[in-house]
Symmetry: C2
Subunit: 473 residues, 2 copies
């Protein structure tokens, strides 16, 4: 196998390092080892996550607790020694789940309670009153479109296609099922249905409803849409075979309020050598309003804060300016990410600032397995050349695509920043995702710390080895 030195020399030849010296493998190895030591022996990520999840709790955009989390994040960034800390204002939606979300199946005069919760953004049932209707099961939006209108009209549509268990990448299984959640209500309304019940997005067979974003369309009636647990969805489907006329009563009083001004919390550590080149890293501070948003995305927030703490503790002097961003509103609108990218566009157009790299942690606090890379071929090859540096930490995956939702809109910048997403193991993620079980107790201290160290090592390597754009034109 070619040595890492050879690989780095080749890449170095293609894209000379602006700071006039080759990267030193020994130095990189030793510094990365120090990063992991600091994270594992003196880590604060776990305690920070406890504060965020237990002292504050879940943090839906627009809520008081999201404001509390913004204050908390500013305090930690200041305490860890960021040069400046500010809030970039973002107007966010303000939807509330309300106090009632319940459903029962009515079969031959007997009522069976079902485990449901409102999907995020759903309207309540008409007049917040119980809605009672027959049910039609489909496995896909496409199947729904093929059904005769009479078989759907006036009914609730049960979208019941499970996540595919044989896909190794659970994110791909999620992606293959989540259209039912996002677009099910619109498809149901267009077919004449009065509402939608969507099988929860998890492999697990359990009784937890998993919420998540759903969307309406201007030309289509807004009908209520609820998540139903996988056990209940399967049970209901079985009951429908014997009792096709069974009815479900659904009652929800969720609703939207006017937008609220919140914002991205930003801490900046100014670069010593290339201060106009910005490396952005972050996760999202908002969460769904059940559970505690521990994996999604409390983990990404404390990973981000821990990178600052670790690099400061090791006496690091950043070459570039590093921005630690606690994004708002990833879950239901991504307005934080869009606002940040719009500002970056403006900076590129009107200032010398250049957003050269961006990193995100928004895939949970599980043991790190690698990175998702969104970058042109050359920086992708550079990032992959670091693989031997990560091998001692069991970090092996360097796959392309899907670096992160918050940083996603930065792709439109010219020149395009090199983007990396932390990729933790995903097998357990959807057990917790958007459910009442996404709590602090389900995040493992060492796994969280290993994620923080891996994230910090990537920031360090990008700062050290990403070729400079030179002075802005």
């Amino acid at each position: 196998m070619r040595s890492i030195l050879t690989i780095l020399a080749v890449i170095g030849g293609l894209t000379p390092f602006a700071h006039g010296q080759s990267p030193e493998l020994t130095g990189d190895s030793a510094f990365i080892r120090a990063i992991y030591d600091e994270a594992l022996a003196r880590g604060e990520a776990h305690e920070n996550l406890r504060q965020l999840t237990k002292d504050i709790g879940h943090r839906l955009s627009g809520s008081q607790s999201a404001f509390d989390a913004m204050d908390w994040g500013q305090g930690v960034l200041e305490g860890y020694g960021a040069d400046s800390v500010w809030v970039m204002p973002v107007r966010v939606p303000s939807w509330t789940r309300g106090t009632i979300a319940q459903a029962t199946a009515h079969i031959d005069g007997t009522e069976y309670p079902l485990h449901v919760t409102a999907l995020g953004g759903s309207v309540g049932t008409p007049n917040d009153a119980p809605l009672r209707a027959q049910v039609i099961q489909v496995k896909s939006l496409e199947q729904l479109r093929t059904l005769p209108r009479a078989s759907v009209e006036g009914r609730l549509v049960l979208f019941n296609r499970p996540m595919d268990p044989v896909l190794i990448n659970t994110g791909a299984a999620y992606g293959g099922a989540v259209d039912q959640r996002g677009r099910g209500a619109v498809a149901a309304a267009q077919a004449g249905a009065v509402g939608a019940l969507v099988r929860s997005m998890t492999h697990a067979l359990d009784t937890l409803p998993h919420t998540g974003a759903m969307y309406y369309q201007e030309d289509t009636d807004s009908v209520p849409s609820a998540a139903i647990s996988t056990v209940d969805a399967s049970w209901l489907a079985n009951q429908l075979m014997e009792h096709p006329d069974l009815e479900v009563m659904l009652e929800m009083n969720c609703r939207a309020f006017p937008d609220v001004e919140q914002g991205n919390v930003i801490g900046e550590w100014r670069g010593s050598e290339l201060p106009h080149e910005i490396i952005t890293l972050g996760g999202h501070l908002d969460s769904w309003d059940i559970g505690e948003g521990a994996h999604d995305d409390g983990a990404g927030i404390v990973h981000t804060l821990e990178v600052l703490r670790i690099l400061k503790a090791l006496g690091y002097t950043p070459r570039r300016t590093i921005r630690f961003v606690l994004f708002i509103n990833e879950e239901n609108g991504n307005r934080g990410g869009k606002t940040y990218a719009a500002r970056a566009q403006e900076d590129h157009a009107t200032t010398e600032l250049r957003y050269v790299a961006a990193l995100e942690s928004d895939a949970g606090g599980f043991v790190p397995r690698g990175f998702r890379i969104d970058a042109a071929d050359e920086p992708t090859a550079l990032i992959r050349s670091w693989s031997p540096l990560f091998e001692p930490y069991n970090v092996h995956q360097f796959r392309r695509g899907g670096a992160g939702v918050d940083i996603g809109p930065l792709k439109a910048l010219t020149p395009r920043p090199a983007m990396m997403g932390l990729s933790p193991d995903g097998q357990r993620y959807f057990d917790f995702h958007h459910s009442s079980q996404d709590v602090f107790e389900n995040v493992h201290k060492r796994e969280l710390e290993l994620g923080a160290a891996t994230f910090a090592a990537a920031v360090y390597l990008l700062d050290q080895h990403l070729p400079s754009l030179g002075k802005a034109d």
Copy 2:
């Protein structure tokens, strides 16, 4: 990068395949994909683990439940269609924890209960009565040897060196601390102490005592030895700084009974082409007597059974004879592994049978990360050449050493078998290991299934591609 075909061709050139054709990468890829599909879509490992842990429970060597587990294992092997199933008799120790294992710290007239349990093999306190003594803390066996006898004599020794948190490999951290558990009692007795308290082998700061094997020495008095939880060990050490004269009362009525005849449960699937060449795979059926032995090693047992089920379900015809072995007594003696290897030695000496490969799963039911390889250079290179076949399943580690305790004694065979140990992620393992929390609920269904598939793929590849020894001399 050199292609897998090139690598296989090179290895094939060194060690031609006995069955006269090169391995077909496409065929291997497709078959391995079918193995994972079967495990994830129709897997029975999780249900088998439920039966083993919930219907039977923990299974200490010599216990009735170990007999029950042997019966259950025979039934599953028969049900899955092994050609023959038998028990290889093994005399095992019969130690029992008894009914009492308690300790309290006495400080200034106040009693503080401590979380302790007997280490496996320990004697009880003298006459099963409470033993009360002052405590001396040490961080190592070496440190104990340097202390003046007067500071140890008549006391309990608290061995309180934690597992090193900065080691990425938690097994290495365990290995770096477990001498305190295994040899602490002997070292304490030699220094004049009346007993030992050993900090539990876990990174977690919690109140669970973790048991495990300890040993006596013929020339040294047997003094009682107990595991103490990490929280209690740290608390006691802090108290000792202020109250060096504090006393601990320890009471245990554990004891050893005469050996019992149990055995290794073996299912055999006869080879079609090289039936005298034996591939052994297994885990251990015995467990410690707290918790349910779910990760250690219920997971390895159901992995082993699932390999048989999967390969049968896929219509596989093994070239070699495959032995599915549910070993007995790994935890406190390894007499099952030693007996199996002694029989293999005899077979090598007196029959045409050759034990060409052995695989073990005894590192938990977590997401698989790779393999530990104990083999000569050529088979090691062959096994490593399969790495691209495992990449789609996020199985990346092919490190040498530590394939498994049960199969370990087979190393002494000539020729030496190629040995592989399944290597799951280890970050959570010592949270549960040998504690009351090693239960079914702490094993994740998909992670368990991925482990079974990875194990099955390794068996398949060894059967297909390991060069034959040819007809025995």
